[in-house]
């Protein structure tokens, strides 16, 4: 029988008060290549379970002290262990009916003594392979996360430098006095700004740079107006009408994240609104559960069955005219999640309204 590569990374716990039974089980399981841990009581089993992560646990029912059922009961009440697969082992056929009773969480199976080696291995293998897959998936996820962190960092640094150098160049060439060159420069500057926003979006998605942030009290309308400074050229070009609801004087938020949130929402509107002359409204509603903010625009719509999908990475709403950002709205969701808030989309024939609450304690 072939042993899965890396199978020693799957821990299997065998629990029995009789050493001779443990010897027999260990012998049966040796060929799987899994790492076998022995416990001679329920207490010892619980101690080992807290120290390591196990693929499954083979648990003798009849033991002095806390028996197999009691041990399983404790396992199922522990938040970290509640999903541990348990295979009960018993010589008493009448125990069978008790095996499945009262365990709603996690997998449960049983084996009757005398043990049939093939049956034992088959049951343990099922959980062992599942466990190895879980480990592999977890590692792949960690690698990907690490990659995006490094990529975002390493992409950002040359861009920051480039923007410093550009800024110095603007002074050296006295671009302010030369309208044509000034306009050219402004376009380069805006596009590098966009690039920076994109990289910061990836950083937010992969959770970097957010650990040390603090909530602060900000004038949200002012934050939005600051964001809009970077968008005016495009908004004017497309003859967009910008409107504001009446905003509360202050909101308690992570300022850099909220700036990024509004930048992404405005960018999203510009990507998806068709034609010119659409309206973009910054909404603020004081509901019973607190303030709900949002960006509502005419000229674009999301079909009802896609409303929940737009916040997932690389999903685009129907009718995307251009190659939109792909990550814009997922960044928004991440930011709102970070505020312990919620974000949702509404749409009608000719409007899209992205709304969010920011999980503030104060109204």
């Amino acid at each position: 029988m072939a042993v899965t590569l890396g199978s020693e990374r799957a821990n299997v716990l065998i629990v029995d008060d009789q050493p001779v039974n443990l010897d027999a089980l260990e012998e049966i399981l040796r060929i799987t290549g899994y790492r076998i841990w022995r416990a001679n009581s329920g207490e010892e089993a619980l101690r080992l379970l807290l120290e390591n992560e196990y693929a499954c646990c083979l648990l003798d029912i009849r033991m002095p002290g806390i028996d197999g059922f009691e041990t399983a009961g404790i396992i199922r009440q522990d938040a970290q262990l509640e999903n541990l697969p348990i295979i009960f082992v018993t010589a008493e056929a009448k125990d069978r009916k008790d095996v499945f009773r009262g365990y709603e969480k996690g997998a449960v199976d049983f084996l009757i003594k005398p043990l049939e080696p093939i049956a034992v291995r088959s049951k343990v293998r099922t959980f062992g392979e599942l466990f190895l897959q879980k480990l592999a998936l977890r590692e792949a996820h960690r690698d990907l996360e690490h990659f995006s962190q490094v990529a975002a960092h390493d992409l950002r640094e040359p861009l920051r430098k480039q923007r410093n150098l550009l800024d110095l160049l603007r002074e050296d060439l006295a671009l302010a006095q030369r309208p044509e060159a000034g306009e050219l420069f402004a376009r380069i500057w805006a596009s590098s700004e966009q690039m920076l926003g994109l990289i910061d979006g990836i950083r937010i998605l992969s959770g970097i740079g957010c650990e040390t942030l603090q909530r602060e009290s900000v004038d949200l309308k002012q934050v939005i107006e600051r964001c809009l400074e970077g968008w005016w050229d495009q908004l004017r070009e497309r003859n967009a009408q910008v409107q504001f609801d009446s905003f509360p004087r202050e909101a308690n938020v992570y300022r850099p994240l909220i700036t990024s949130l509004y930048n992404n929402l405005v960018g999203n509107v510009l990507d998806h609104a068709l034609g010119n002359g659409f309206e973009i409204r910054f909404t603020a509603e004081n509901s019973r559960s607190g303030w709900v903010f949002g960006v509502r625009n005419t000229g674009s719509a999301i079909s009802a069955n896609r409303l929940n999908d737009v916040f997932k990475v690389f999903r685009k709403a129907d009718g995307a005219r251009t190659d939109g950002r792909g990550i814009g709205l997922s960044v928004c969701k991440k930011i709102v999640d970070r505020h312990h808030g919620r974000i949702f989309a509404n749409s009608g024939d000719d409007y899209t309204h992205i709304q969010f609450a920011l999980g503030e304690r104060t109204a």
Binding site: H153, R160, K161, N164, D167, L168, G209
Partner: protein, 139 residues
């Protein structure tokens, strides 16, 4: 004895020459009046500190120390500087990094950095950062 200093001196250690250029250009626009002495590796800076200890070079008012450098990174440099009795307290060291990674910040303070600064963005942000350095010396 160290010689009499005409102007205070800021030392910058960074493997990236562009950073020296950017800093010196923004220094001209800032309110600071100081010299910028640059080293493109940790080893070169540690050699310089030997001269400082011997009184042959002026004591830097402030060191801006890049974190990510090849061969000897900013943490290694910081550790060695703080192991030297002459520089345990008197020398002000500011880690100057493009990353605001929390683990890096914690490590910097554990090893005895006085401040951790994320490299500033363009224009006013850079100038304001330089102006803020006046609390560390008579620039």
């Amino acid at each position: 004895m160290s010689q009499i200093q005409e102007t205070a001196e800021i030392v910058m250690v960074d493997d990236d020459q562009d950073e020296f250029y950017i800093a010196s250009r923004y220094l001209e626009k800032s309110k600071l009046k100081c010299d910028l002495r640059t080293f493109s590796s940790g080893a070169a800076f540690l050699d310089y500190l030997k001269l400082v200890r011997a009184g042959e070079s002026p004591f830097p008012a402030l060191v801006l120390l890049d974190v990510r450098m090849p061969v000897m990174d900013g943490f290694d440099v910081l550790k060695r500087v703080r192991q030297d009795g002459a520089f345990q307290q008197r020398l002000t060291i500011m880690m100057f990094s493009h990353s605001n990674n929390e683990a890096d910040m914690r490590r910097a303070f554990e090893l005895g950095a006085d401040r951790y600064q994320v490299k500033p963005g363009a224009g006013q942000e850079y100038i304001e950062f330089l102006d803020s350095l006046r609390e560390y010396g008579d620039f």
